[in-house]
Subunit: 283 residues, 2 copies
């Protein structure tokens, strides 16, 4: 087995099952992969074209009336590498076939609506791979930790989310939910780097340290969110992310698996190819 290949399929290893415990996931680990950074970069590059090819098939299929699409939901503590996943994994797709939405602090208008209002508007169109950088899970994460919403209301949201995702899947959109899991020390190093580099200052927010102080509360909120919403139709995958190169190949593999299962095919011609060749030749 070459070092630049998966030893075991990470999809099974990273999937959060009924007994999942976030506290037992080592953010330094690399489940299913025995290579190093260089091996991982090779693997990422080797499969980029395959990922783009699947996406193009999905797009092609949609032109002939299919309503299928794929949605990658990314959640994580600050600096865990959501942006790097978008750039280095989703960057392989043809830009016409991918739509990235960052869900920051809700606008005034968004706050006045149900929390799914802004989410529904950004669900991927047929043929498109949507990426959510943060998502509808914010209401059971920061809202829970910061007490932005009464707890008894938050307690109802897990079922609301499960029902919503069931509806989305039934409408033709496969969902892959990923939590990038970094450690407290690793986050400190990454925040320090942002402070050291003037071209990274815009990514730093003093509030990041405030959030960091609430690390245990956030881990608990993630634990609850994952155990209550890792369903058969929309499972969670918890990806160790202290090694950025591992997180990238893992998410790439999860997307490849999802697309392979969807197995979009090139649409058959809805015209007579021989006739068209003659018409073209005569033109």
């Amino acid at each position: 087995m070459a070092k630049n290949e998966w030893k075991d399929d990470p999809s099974e290893l990273l999937r959060a099952t009924a007994t999942f415990r976030l506290s037992e996931v080592d953010p330094d680990s690399t489940p299913g992969f025995e290579g190093d950074k260089g091996d991982a970069e090779e693997l990422l590059a080797d499969h980029a074209h395959e990922l783009a090819d699947w996406q193009e098939r999905l797009f092609a299929e949609s032109r002939e009336g299919s309503n299928r699409s794929l949605l990658l939901v990314l959640q994580a503590m600050d600096t865990a590498g959501k942006g790097g996943i978008v750039r280095h994994v989703a960057g392989a797709f043809d830009p016409k076939g991918v739509a990235v939405t960052g869900f920051g602090v809700p606008t005034q208008e968004e706050s006045e609506h149900h929390f799914l209002w802004r989410i529904r508007k950004r669900l991927p169109a047929p043929g498109i791979v949507g990426v959510f950088d943060r998502s509808h899970y914010e209401v059971v994460l920061i809202h829970r930790v910061r007490e932005l919403t009464p707890l008894d209301e938050i307690e109802t949201y897990y079922d609301v989310i499960n029902d919503f995702e069931r509806e989305v899947v039934d409408s033709g959109t496969q969902i892959v939910k990923v939590m990038l899991h970094i450690g407290l020390d690793e986050q400190k190093e990454r925040l320090a780097e942002r402070l050291d580099r003037s071209d990274k200052h815009w990514k730093y927010n003093p509030g990041d340290v405030d959030e960091r102080m609430l690390w245990p509360q956030y881990q608990q909120a993630y634990q609850l969110a994952i155990e209550r919403t890792s369903t058969d139709h929309a499972p969670w995958f918890v990806v160790p992310a202290n090694k950025k190169w591992y997180a990238r190949i893992a998410v790439q593999r999860l997307l490849l698996d999802a697309l392979e299962r969807m197995n979009p095919e090139w649409p058959a011609a809805d015209f007579d190819v021989a006739v068209e060749k003659k018409r073209l030749a005569a033109s």
Copy 2:
């Protein structure tokens, strides 16, 4: 001068001025570039990172309140390579910073609104590079050739478009308008290739041959559109496109020029870096 560099800036060479004649543009030519396909591929790869870097600055700036964005408008006859520009040129951007919109046949709802209605909804948000694959120009191209709208009404649209683009530019969005110019014979070869490959059948439409029969009328409609709407605030660039590799480096250069002129800078920290370093260290 290395063969994999521009000999002359194509921006000036390709810009449609007051005396522009589409019939005088040779679709096989490579203005400003003396290298071959391999040289062009090197040049494209060499500048991909630079393009991504500018876009990230534009994005960063928008997080601090700037409302600037960039819009690339692509128009062309079928098979001219709009899709390849999106994939190979815009593919260099971080997916979070680019938004591609294809404007096909208007939906029923779109048809019931002003032709700019669907366009306005897809103008790039601050910090984003928008790409229009077809655009508001369809009303003075296919509508003119196919007589989908009364001619006297179409005659008023050129001014409407100029006013609209003035407004867009004044709102902070730079516009780069590109017509990819291929020849009639080259199109025949490319359509034949689509008919030969089953994975390309979905891109072929029998209507493509019908449109092809109206080649001179389309060239005339493009001539009128370009001469009437190539303004100082939103000039047209006509890019010879029989050689796909040339069209790609030319559009890349046009985007680089536009971003260099905009010159977005990394936002300065709006916090005290020393204080934050201490807070982080203590956390």
